[in-house]
């Protein structure tokens, strides 16, 4: 099967082969294949939802609940779980599967696909590859794709911006709402879930977030209290998620992140990128001169 063409892997994946699907995703991730190799539709075939938020707020627990709920309803859902690569070695430890139990339940396992994705080293390339992975899953019949990413930095924000909708997960006692604002995710969110509602401080954090969001222009996203542990609020949250409208503000912020990512990818992928950096570092050329070269090349 290694060495099979993307088109044949795609055909097998559509026919239900998980092995072919997994190999096809590797080909796309490694840049040896692109969805255009087997995309005969050109149409929107599914939806994607990013689940993001700080470490430890319970993203994986909530995702486990979503996977189980949707699979039980007969809706197939794929999860792309993003973890950072080490900037030193380029390697990665991918542990998101540990906390998921829904994929182990044999009566629904056929409708759940989980794939761990490392951010790898190249700046700006992850979100682009991620978009191709989502498209590939849609083209293989996985109508619904979840992207799990820690919302703690620019590249993670951009990973989330790949999705059609963004759900921000927060926890109680996360400091004040300014912490959430600083991460840059609040303006992108179409929905905010404050998890661990069974613990002290969740109510207060939710109302602080509502206050902060009300200062922004346009319709703020709903802020819902949930508890993955006691299951309080989960049914309501799932109902909202089933048909989550896009906020005008978030679509603009997402477009901005996608554009910024494309520019960064163009820059870091430029043939003379390294020599540009060296010239700026040693003072041979100024940043403005290099910018002039970059624009002229366009």
């Amino acid at each position: 099967m290694r060495g099979a063409t993307p088109a044949s892997l795609h055909a097998e994946a559509v026919a239900g082969s998980r092995r072919a699907l997994a190999r096809l995703l590797t080909e796309v991730e490694d840049g040896r294949a692109s969805p255009s190799d087997f995309d005969h539709h050109g149409a929107v075939l599914g939806r994607s939802l990013a689940i993001t938020g700080p470490p430890g707020v319970g993203k994986s627990c909530l995702i486990d609940h979503m996977l189980r709920a949707w699979a039980t309803q007969g809706r197939s859902t794929a999860l792309l779980a993003i973890d950072p690569s080490s900037s030193l070695s380029g390697g990665a430890l991918l542990g998101d599967r540990i906390r998921l139990t829904a994929p182990d339940e044999q009566d629904i396992a056929d409708r759940i696909y989980v794939r761990s994705v490392a951010t790898r080293r190249a700046t700006g390339s992850v979100p682009t590859v991620l978009g191709d992975l989502v498209r590939t899953l849609h083209l293989c019949g996985w109508e619904q794709v979840l992207i799990e990413t820690v919302g703690a930095g620019q590249s993670e924000v951009r990973c989330a911006a790949v999705a059609d909708r963004i759900v921000l997960v927060e926890g109680p006692a996360r400091g004040d709402a300014v912490q959430a604002e600083k991460a840059g995710l609040l303006e992108l969110a179409d929905l905010v879930l404050v998890n661990k509602a069974d613990l002290d401080g969740a109510d207060r954090h939710a109302s602080e977030l509502r206050d902060a969001l009300s200062l922004n222009e346009g319709t703020p996203p709903a802020v819902l209290l949930v508890s993955a542990k006691t299951r309080d609020g989960l049914d309501e949250a799932m109902e909202v998620l089933a048909d989550l409208p896009e906020r005008p503000g978030s679509s603009r912020a997402r477009a901005r992140e996608r554009l910024a990512n494309a520019v960064e990818r163009y820059l870091t992928g430029h043939d003379d990128y390294e020599s540009m950096l060296a010239d700026i570092a040693t003072g041979r050329r100024s940043v403005e001169e290099v910018m002039g070269v970059l624009w002229r090349d366009q």
Partner: protein, 147 residues
């Protein structure tokens, strides 16, 4: 090292000790690979499903419970049944010398006991990655002989 291999590290069966598995996972990460750790107490089927869905090239099994003689060959059989014969399987933990021949015969290509320098495991992975006879589906009898 620009070669990134996807490696699943798994703990099959009823065995709560994963310090060794975590040390190996970290060493492989530090050698530049993408390591997927499954967590404790996985069934053979859960492990093989993870290898398939993650498109892993290698599967590292750790057992300290004494059940390796049953679990490791069961996993190797399942991999072959699932058409994942090109996956390379290696093992570690508390594996008595007299049990090793049976595990090798089942398709486990290397067994690393306590005290193994992590560099040896990294060397095995790089060596086996290019060998067709290292896959669990190859009826080759190939066993890693050390660096």
């Amino acid at each position: 090292m620009d070669r990134v291999l996807r490696i699943v590290v798994a703990k099959p069966g009823l065995d709560g000790h994963d310090r060794g598995a975590k040390v190996v996972a970290r060493a492989l990460r530090d050698a530049g690979h993408e390591v997927i750790y499954t967590g404790l107490r996985r069934t053979p089927k859960q492990i093989v499903d993870a290898v398939r869905d993650e498109d892993a090239r290698f599967l590292g099994l750790s057992s300290l419970s004494g059940a390796h003689g049953h679990l490791f060959p069961t996993i190797c059989d399942l991999l072959r049944e699932e058409g994942l014969g090109d996956v390379v399987v290696f093992g570690g933990g508390i594996i008595p010398d007299e049990d090793r021949a049976d595990l090798h015969a089942a398709g486990v290509r290397a067994i690393f006991g306590p005290g193994t320098p992590t560099g040896e495991i990294n060397a095995f992975v790089l060596d086996a990655a290019d060998r067709e006879e290292a896959g669990v589906g190859a009826d080759s009898g190939w066993v890693w002989q050390g660096a």
